[in-house]
């Protein structure tokens, strides 16, 4: 324990902020101030916080709407609500201590049944950990507009309600269902260039003319003209010229059948999916960052004497629960715990900076012995899970977690242990684990390949089956039906294997 700043030579306060488990608004405010001060000592840059105390029912509501404070009404939210409520009422599942919303100000929900220790933990975790991550990480900066999201959600909800009034609940629900099916493919991974204004366009046009004028040379006129090429038949241009990975975007822009209001709904689902895109790409980093900081900040409070031993013990118990990682053969193993991996990686980075071993110097020459706060800040800002692991997973952690990779090859009768936590395996494990956090590992690579614009208006999707992993066929057909409903004409899905040949085609009439 004890992670003082620059030696941590602070005087211990005579009296802790609170004793006992009860919380009051006054206490929460005081903890927030104390934690906020520690956070500033460490140089955490955060949005202002809006801390809201809610009941467990309200927490269940928030669950149902994937944590968003406002959503449009839809049955799938009802389904989630019913599922979670049943689990909670029967005691199979506790509720999360907090939900935090990436907005400016950053909204964090605290549950009223938490003890003051848990409230303080949550404040450190959400209001300073997650909050600073939202503000700093490049994916969030690039893809989410923290100051606009709440307004957009309000707009989306009202728009959907208005459509329901005008066109009927059923009609709206159909569009939403279909959009939800395609939402994982409604995400941009790279920025598209912004639309050009008329002025820009005029300037470019003027530039082109100027260029032509400067390069003008009358000599060119004397060259014999080439035989005019056969004019290409109109409509032979494949469209889109390059395949489009954002299927919902393509539907919104080019669907021949959708009404304007339906297109707007497609856009709403797409925007919300895009809002969640950074979260899905930074689960390990984000949770790890929040855990690292609730741990560090709480220890700092303890060093300052602002919290007592009882507080610290309760805190440590919750903390260890959160970052517990079970082995593959233990009961309740559900894969890698992102909290555990993320926390361990940041702690490890700090260790590499503060007390590097020879191995660390060999693997991480540029950061070993460096200033841990700068190193962590850089790591938090510039990576996503995939690259973060590829860059920073150290051999020590691979040994600590006793990682091993299992290869599952269709042609092999048995599973093969690919590599383990030994000298020969470090690189390989690191690569494989990083690849596991690549989006394509979970979401199949499916793109719009062709739109028969001048023909039968059919739409062709191409599934690039990386490593020949097929789609789950019955579900793919169902999903394709949803696309056909949005598109209005025939749609087909081609699976292309590693060797480039079409291995499977599913069609669905519009």
């Amino acid at each position: 324990m004890g992670s003082g700043v620059n030696g941590g030579a602070t005087l211990r306060a005579a009296e802790p902020i609170s004793r006992g488990p009860e919380w009051t608004f006054e206490l929460i405010r005081r903890y927030d101030e104390a934690i906020g001060e520690c956070a500033r000592e460490f140089g955490l840059d955060t949005f202002p916080n809006q801390i809201e105390v809610i009941t467990s029912e309200q927490m269940l509501d928030a669950y149902a709407s994937t944590g968003l404070p406002i959503t449009y009404p839809h049955w799938t939210h009802g389904k989630e609500f019913i599922r979670n409520e049943a689990l909670y009422r029967k005691g199979y599942q506790g509720l999360a201590y907090e939900i935090v919303i990436n907005s400016d100000p950053c909204i964090a929900y605290l549950m009223e049944e938490n003890t003051i220790t848990m409230q303080a933990l949550v404040i450190a975790h959400a209001c300073y950990g997650h909050n600073s991550f939202f503000k700093g990480n490049y994916l969030f900066r690039q893809w989410t507009y923290a100051d606009a999201i709440l307004d957009y959600l309000v707009f989306a909800r009202n728009y959907v309600l208005k459509c329901e009034e005008r066109f009927g609940v059923g009609a709206v629900e159909e569009v939403l269902d279909s959009c939800h099916a395609l939402a994982p493919h409604g995400v941009d991974k790279y920025k598209r260039p912004g639309a050009k204004s008329l002025k820009d366009e005029e300037r470019r046009q003027a530039g082109r003319e100027e260029n032509a004028r400067r390069l003008f040379n009358d000599l060119w006129r004397t060259l014999p003209r080439a035989e005019a090429k056969e004019p290409r038949a109109a409509g032979r241009h494949p469209f889109p010229a390059e395949s489009e990975e954002n299927i919902l975007y393509f539907v919104e822009k080019y669907s021949p059948k959708l009404e304007p209001w339906q297109k707007e709904i497609v856009r709403i689902v797409r925007k919300i999916a895009q809002y969640f895109y950074p979260q899905s790409q930074t689960k390990v980093m984000n949770e790890g960052w929040a855990c690292f900081w609730h741990y560090t900040l709480t220890n700092r409070l303890y060093d300052k004497g602002l919290i007592d031993d009882a507080f610290m013990l309760e805190f440590l118990q919750s903390h260890t629960n959160v970052i517990a990682q079970r082995g593959f053969d233990q009961q309740g193993y559900g894969g890698l715990n992102p909290y555990a991996l993320g926390f361990a990686m940041y702690q490890d980075l700090k260790r590499i900076c503060e007390a590097p071993t020879t191995e660390d110097r060999q693997w991480f020459p540029e950061i070993a012995g460096g200033d841990w706060r700068q190193v962590l800040d850089f790591a938090m800002r510039n990576f996503k899970d995939e690259s973060f692991i590829a860059q920073y997973l150290s051999p020590k952690l691979i040994r600590d977690f006793r990682f091993f990779a299992i290869a599952d090859y269709e042609d092999e009768p048995e599973l093969i242990v690919d590599s383990i936590h030994d000298e020969a395996g470090y690189q390989r494990i690191r690569t494989l684990l990083s690849r596991q956090y690549n989006r394509e590992y979970v979401v199949p690579d499916i793109q719009v390949a062709n739109f028969e614009r001048d023909g039968d208006r059919s739409l062709t999707l191409r599934h690039q089956a990386a490593r020949n992993r097929p789609l789950r066929e019955d579900e793919a057909e169902e999903t394709l039906k949803h696309l056909a409903r949005l598109w209005g004409f025939d749609v087909r899905l081609e699976s292309v294997g590693e060797d480039g040949s079409v291995s499977k085609t599913i069609e669905c009439p519009g």
Partner: protein, 427 residues
């Protein structure tokens, strides 16, 4: 600047609308599940809420995802004995075991989606789209029903109608009005007294001032906390409320040929009917008649729970019903319904007589008469009563008959008999 907000009072239940939408969307599946539940339940808890099972695949929301096959590697934690190159037999379940990311050997289990419906929701689904046929809703009884409605407050009334908050408001106002003048005086007197004590004027003067203060304090204390004037009572007035009046006759054959199974089925049918009527209509009278070789009117408890047995004379029940209608339910003022359950075993001239009696006396009076026959299991012969009644089925628009062989058929037949907008046509 950080904000701390108490959001608890904002109220939850934001998901109610979504929950309702979910129920609406999966009505078919839920109804199927409810139907199954009804057949299994005992009569006494037929009207409880209940668990509903929906197959998970019905509510799955499809997305494009990877299926089993192809090549991939998965990283796990907690290695103990593996070395690179070891092989492990594939887990049971066709290699799909590791299909879902890191499920580590557990097959993808597809549990049914189970959740609980409240009693209200349950019964809503249960009796959805059902209506008493031909109910003349706007018919006013001779003596209009009266309904008590709130109408402000008044000064006298019985203690149970005391409006506490209102009374205290009155009391507060009166106390403020009566005591403010005294308070001012008291304030002034006290100041004077203090002044006098400080300036050490004569003892007499001080004691006079003190008396004055005490007197005023007493006066203030005499303003009563609660006065008769303050009392306010909730006022209610009766307003006439038009209701359509209806009576349902439940006729059940409890003769010896009705064995336990058949009686159970018949009671189940009436339990549904009873529930349906009491739930949907506030003002439906129920008359229970059971008959062996003679008929008697009984209360609902005896009807459902009292064992009794004997011979069979169907007509006796019809005659009794006619008699009761004559005595108590004048047809001009009442919508009359009847449901009869029997195994159809009737002897001699009884079936034909019953049929004629029904046609001549009861059907002209009744808006709707339903006959439910409960034959022996796997018995498809036409019973004597059925054969006789069949003549009515086509000819009389307000007569319907159905057969029920087993528990599972009760609910469908019941629905069929009372579905909305039926062939008899709503008024």
């Amino acid at each position: 600047m950080d904000h701390l907000i108490d959001r608890r009072l904002a109220g939850g239940n934001k998901s109610a609308v979504n929950r309702e939408r979910f129920l609406r969307r999966y009505k078919e599946q839920i109804r199927r599940s409810v139907k199954g539940t009804v057949a299994e339940r005992s009569i006494t808890d037929i009207d409880k809420g209940g668990n509903v099972n929906i197959p998970a695949r019905d509510i799955r929301e499809p997305v494009f995802r990877h299926g089993p096959g192809g090549e991939r590697e998965i990283v796990h934690t907690g290695n103990k004995e593996f070395s690179a190159g070891d092989t492990i037999p594939r887990p049971e379940g066709g290699g799909e075991g590791q299909g879902r990311g890191n499920q580590g050997g557990e097959g993808e289990t597809v549990d049914d989606f189970v959740f609980t419906l409240s009693r209200e929701e349950f019964l809503d689904l249960f009796f959805e789209d059902m209506e008493l046929p031909d109910m003349v809703r706007n018919f006013l009884g001779e003596v209009p029903e009266r309904k008590w409605v709130r109408a402000g407050f008044r000064r006298e009334g019985s203690p149970n109608n005391l409006a506490v908050v209102r009374t205290l408001k009155q009391s507060l106002g009166r106390r403020i009005a009566l005591s403010s003048a005294i308070r001012d005086e008291l304030e002034a007197a006290r100041r004077e007294l203090e002044e006098a004590e400080r300036r050490s004027v004569s003892v007499l003067q001080v004691s006079m001032l003190r008396e004055r203060v005490e007197e005023l304090e007493k006066k203030l204390a005499r303003v009563p906390f609660l006065d008769d004037l303050d009392l306010r009572y909730r006022n209610r007035v009766a307003v006439p409320a038009p209701v359509a009046r209806a009576v349902m006759f439940c006729l059940m054959d409890v003769s010896a040929s009705m064995d336990e199974r058949k009686k159970e089925l018949a009671k189940r049918f009436y339990a549904l009917l009873y529930l349906f009527l009491t739930r949907k209509y506030e003002h439906v009278e129920l008359v229970f008649i059971r008959h062996t070789d003679n008929a008697e009117e009984c209360d609902e408890d005896a009807f459902f729970h009292d064992p009794r047995t004997g011979g069979t004379v169907v007509c006796s029940a019809l005659e009794l019903m006619h008699k009761i209608v004559d005595e108590r339910f004048e047809p001009a003022g009442w919508n009359i319904y009847a449901a009869q359950a029997s195994d159809g075993d009737a002897f001699g001239s009884d079936p034909a007589k019953s049929m004629r009696y029904l046609r001549e006396f009861l059907l002209p009076l009744a808006r709707y008469f339903a006959y439910v026959e409960i034959p022996d299991e796997n018995d498809n012969r036409t019973s004597t009563l059925w054969a006789a009644y069949e003549e009515l089925a086509g000819a009389e628009p307000n007569f319907a008959m159905r057969r029920v062989h087993g528990r599972a058929e009760i609910y469908p037949v019941f629905r069929d008999l009372f579905k909305k907008e039926t062939a008899w046509g709503a008024a």
